[in-house]
Each structure stands twice: as C-alpha cells, then as structure tokens.
Amino acid sequence: MVANVGRLRRHLTPFNIIAGLILAVGLVLTVLRFGFGLGAVTNLDDANPWGLWIGFDILCGVALAAGGFTIATTVHIFRVKRFEAIVRPAVLTGFLGYLFVTVGLLFDLGRPWRVVNPIIGHVGPSSVMFEVGWCVFLYLLVLFLEFSPAALEWLGWKRVRGWAVKLTIVLSVAGMVLSTLHQSSLGSLFLLTPGRLHPLWYSPYVPVFFFVSAIAAGLAMVIFEGWLTHRFFPDKIAHDAASRAHFDSLTLGLGKAAAVVLFAYFGVKVLGVAGDNHWALLASPWGMWFLVELIGFVALPCALFTWGYRNQSVKAVRIAAVLTVLGIVLNRLNVSVIAFGWSAADPYVPSWMEIGTSIAIVTTGVVIFRWIVQRMPILTPHPDYPRH
C-alpha cells in the first residue's frame, strides 16, 4: 500500500490521505475536549469514572511500549548481542509509546495543566498513582536519552552523541528498574478496588500479572512491528539472503522468548484463580469471558509461539504476536473498564468521540514513527557508526 513512500508520490499517498482525515477529526475533538470539558466528549460518569482513555491510551500504551526496556535489557545488560539490530526500533517505539501515553493522560485528566503536581511537591505519600506518575515521568526522560543517539547521528552532532552513547548501560539499568516498578504498579492501582473489579480479575497478584504480561506484550510488539517495518520500509533494510535469514532468526528467537513469558503469565493467572479459590466463578458468563481472554489470547498464542519456533515458522510467530497484542489490549480493558464495571447498573460504552480521539493519538504516533524512521538511523546503522 505505502510501499514506495518518499520520492515521487510524496503527498497524496493513501496513507497520507487517511492519516490526514483522522488527524483533522482528531483536531476538532481536541478543541471540543479542552474547550468544553470531559463531559462534552466522553460517556464517563461517577459510576464509570475511567473509560477508554485510561484503559486503552494509558494502560495498553504503557504495556505495548514495554519492548523498549525488554530489548534494551536483553542486549545491553544481558549482552545478547544478536538482538542489537532491533534495539533502536524497540526504543523508538517505547519512546513514542510513552510520549503518547502522556498525551492520552493530558486528554484524560480533568485539569491537565496540573499533571506536574505530583512531581513538583504535591505528595500523595501512600498513593500507588503517585509512584506511577514519578516512574513514568523519569522513564520518559530515560527513553528520550536512549533514543537520542539516533537523532544526534542524524543531526551530525558527533560529540554529544558520544556522551549519549556512554550512558547506554546506566540508562538500560534505569529503564529496567523504572519499568519493573511502574508496569507492576499500574496493576497495583487496582489492588485498591476489590469490590469493583470482578473477582476473577482482582487478585493480590495483579501487579505481577501486569509486569509479566507487559514483557510478553513488549516482545510481541517488537515482532509485530518488525514485520510491519519490513513490509512498509523496504528501502530501509538490506535484502540479501543473509540479512533475511538473520531477521527471521531474530523473529523466531523473540517468539521463543514470548512463548516462555506467556507460559509464565498463564501460570500466574491460574495461580490467581486458585489462590482465591474462584474456580466456581468460571462457570458464570463473566467466567466465560475470563476464559476467552485466558485461553484465546494467552494459552493459544503461547502454543502458537512454541509451534512456530519448533517448526521454524515465522508466519506462526507473527500471528501469535498479533494475538498476544490483542490479548493484552483485552486484558487491560477488562481490568480498567469492562470487568471493572461489571456491577455497574449502567455499563459504560465509549462515545465515538472517545474512540476517535484514541485513534487520532495512535495515528499521530504512527506518523511521527514513520517520519523518524525515514530520516534517522533506526532500522539500519548510520554509515559513520557501523555496529560491531
């Protein structure tokens, strides 16, 4: 579709037209949101104070951007150097992911200009959200710095780039620690709401669920995104047989890791049900819905990853990755919106304007990703700084 973006048909590509339309609608929605308040564009009310923007833009955004810290840790800390080629795309996705999580947060906060309050000394000492705020803020800085060498190479600022590269290990460690904290703490937010979140999803282990599933989500996103970038930026990658084989072996390697992580995730999810002895609840309609998530979007992709790795099927691994991503989206929406509101008399359904805003935010991220990938050394190394 957008195979040959760039040179000739610079402006009126189908991608640009669709993206342009979405962004135009997004602009109108932005004016409505900030000019007339949350009530004017959302279906939120006191019984359903959190909706799509928390559930999708923030919770899914953070989980799906976990590839940044997962790959950076693998390559820089555990020194598994064969994944080095995908550090930059993963870090860029992470950085843009968190950037747009922050944008989503600004849309969602009643008084977005106070988003800095927890940082500038208004302390909620016992609040999980206070900690999440700090971690996300610091991690955004870390991701910016981790991403900066690519931008500096593009700008030709050799000396500054040299300093930035020296920080690699420190940044990887900081990224891993901060991610461990806030990925799990986003789950801890729901520890406070046992009466509201359906008991099948509520568990004292919910921080563990969030952390482990975020790693799976990060790996799946890296696979998924590698596939897309190879499809849509063919001029940015090498096409010889060796490079292709290398890329396929990376995909399979990631798939193997994802299989292990999903297996662990499946295990702790079952432990959660067992620990609270909630087996009987599985027979209810909500139990069926829980099983759809657990079997269809955790066990199935786990099996498919395993099968794909064993049979060297890149295609199976890619399908498993897509299923995993969908499963994480389903899980986060369940925890924060769907199963969270199971007892609400009047269930929340997002307005088309909430959905439109979310789509516009994601589209902006994709457009910027594309802009950067086409200019900066993300998918292939800069000629001046070849990878060793």
Binding site: T42, A47, R114, N117, G124, V128
Partner: protein, 315 residues
Amino acid sequence: MTISRRSLLKGAGLTGGASLLLGPSRVASAFTAPAAPDAYGVLVDLSVCEGCHACEEACNEQNGLPKPEAPFDAEAPLGVKRRPGGSTFTVVSTYPDPAHRGEVVNVKTQCMHCLEPTCASACPVGAFTRTPEGAVVYDETICMGCRYCVAACPFGVPHYEFESAFSPRVQKCVLCLSRIREDGLVPACVDACPAEATTFGKRADLIKLARRKLLDPDEGYVDHIYGEREAGGTSWLYISKVPFEALGFPMNLEMQPYINLTKGAVKAVPLVLVLGPAFLMGMNALAKRIEEGEPAPVPVAAHHDAKNGGSGHGR
C-alpha cells in the same frame, strides 16, 4: 459551644458500662485504625428515618449547591440506589421492607468519612485529608482530576464535575466541618432531621449508644453496626431493623483499611530501587565475563585459590 438540642448525644455517661457489657473480644475487634479518640461521627438509625428528604434540602442550602431537577420532597424511586451528586452531597434512597409488605426503609447516604479514607490513599497529590474532627476534606487547588478517588471509594461517594471544562472538582460531603469547628454546630443535615434519625457525637460514644440499642431484644435491630469495621471503620455509622443487604449497602467490603491492600506494593518500591540496579549491574558483569571467555565467578569457598591465580575478577 452551642449544640443542637435535639441531636447531640450526651454520651459521657455511657462510657464505662459498655465495654464491660460487650466483653473484651468485641471491643478489641472494634476497629484497627488509630482514630483520633475525639473524632466526631453520626449514628443513623434507619428504623427512624421517615424519608422526608429534609436533610437533602438542608445540605443543598448549607453548601450553596445548585437546585436539583426533582424537588426535594419528591419520592425516591423504590429500590433504586441513588448516588450523591453535585446538587446533593447527601441523598435518601427508598427500599421496600422485605419482611413487611407495603412498608419501606429510607437510607440516607453521604460520604462516610472513613477513618482511613480510601480516597486519600488513592490520591496521587494528597488532595484529601482527614481532620482531627473526623471530616475527610478535599483541596481543589491541587487536584489534577485523575478520578482515582472516584474509582476507588468503596462506598461510591465522590462526584466529579465532568461537565466543567476549566475547573472540574471532586465534590462530596465535608461533614459541615466549618459548622463543627467554627460555630460549634452539628452538620446541617443532622440539624434538619425532624425524626431525629441522626445523632451527632463522638464516634466512640456513638458506638456505645448503638451497641446499647442493639442489645435490647425487644427492638429487633440487626446485630451489625454498619461502619464500625467496614473499610477499617467510618465516622458515619448505621443501625437497622432490616438487613443491610436489602438496603443497597455494599456488603463485599474489606474489614480493614483499604490502604492495607496496597501497602506491600508501595513498600516494595524502595527495595526495587536499591536492589534492582545492583542486581542488573551484577548480571551485566557476569554476562561480560562469560562473553570474554573468562570463567564464571568463583564460588566463595574456592575464592582464595582463584585469587592466587590472578583470574576471575576485574571488570
């Protein structure tokens, strides 16, 4: 201090006898929260409330709120739990009495003024404080509008002004703190209640009064002081002759402060911050060593021998 004649519990005299009557176990389990001993509370006797909604009107006036759509004396829809809102920080819901056909029970709801408020545990900027009087109050000047408090309150109390573009606030009952603190009055709703269904006083005394009522077998109260232990204890307490389950009270609550649920997670944070980097740097050093073909770190016992050989450490 001038206190409304009809509502204040003249409680001091009760203090001695109750604990003797109740026995040590119930006293010990009363509540775990270190509540200020002098904090106030309100005891609602649901069997007395007539459902006149005078409290709603008094609250509306006291707080200068916009008038609600339906007039105050309109009958509440039967069996529907009403939620406090922007024009009414307290609402009365009406439920059919399951044991007596045709009769109803009226339930006044407002912020429970928890001893360890979940809203305060949730808020990332510390916008909620519990005052020594027992009131849980909110500071709109720092709130950023994340609505975690609305999502987390186990009693479904706070209202958020979604319709406001530039200055949305969380709104809820503040126990008429200024009336209590500055004017020595009882809350406006308590003052307005013609049936004396509400009793304002020291929480500790209210519990004793409630227990004394429950102990009288002729009265037929349900053996439960709602709010004594729910969510770690609340300043508002309820007694009833109809089971609370039938009256829209949340019955699936924790009998401990909700902050206990997140304490472990919050306490783990400094641990991860300290141990995490050390662990990761260690892993990094190990990986580097393996990569460079040097032997893996020597077990402590064998360390001395290795040292003589001059290998096994360094980076």
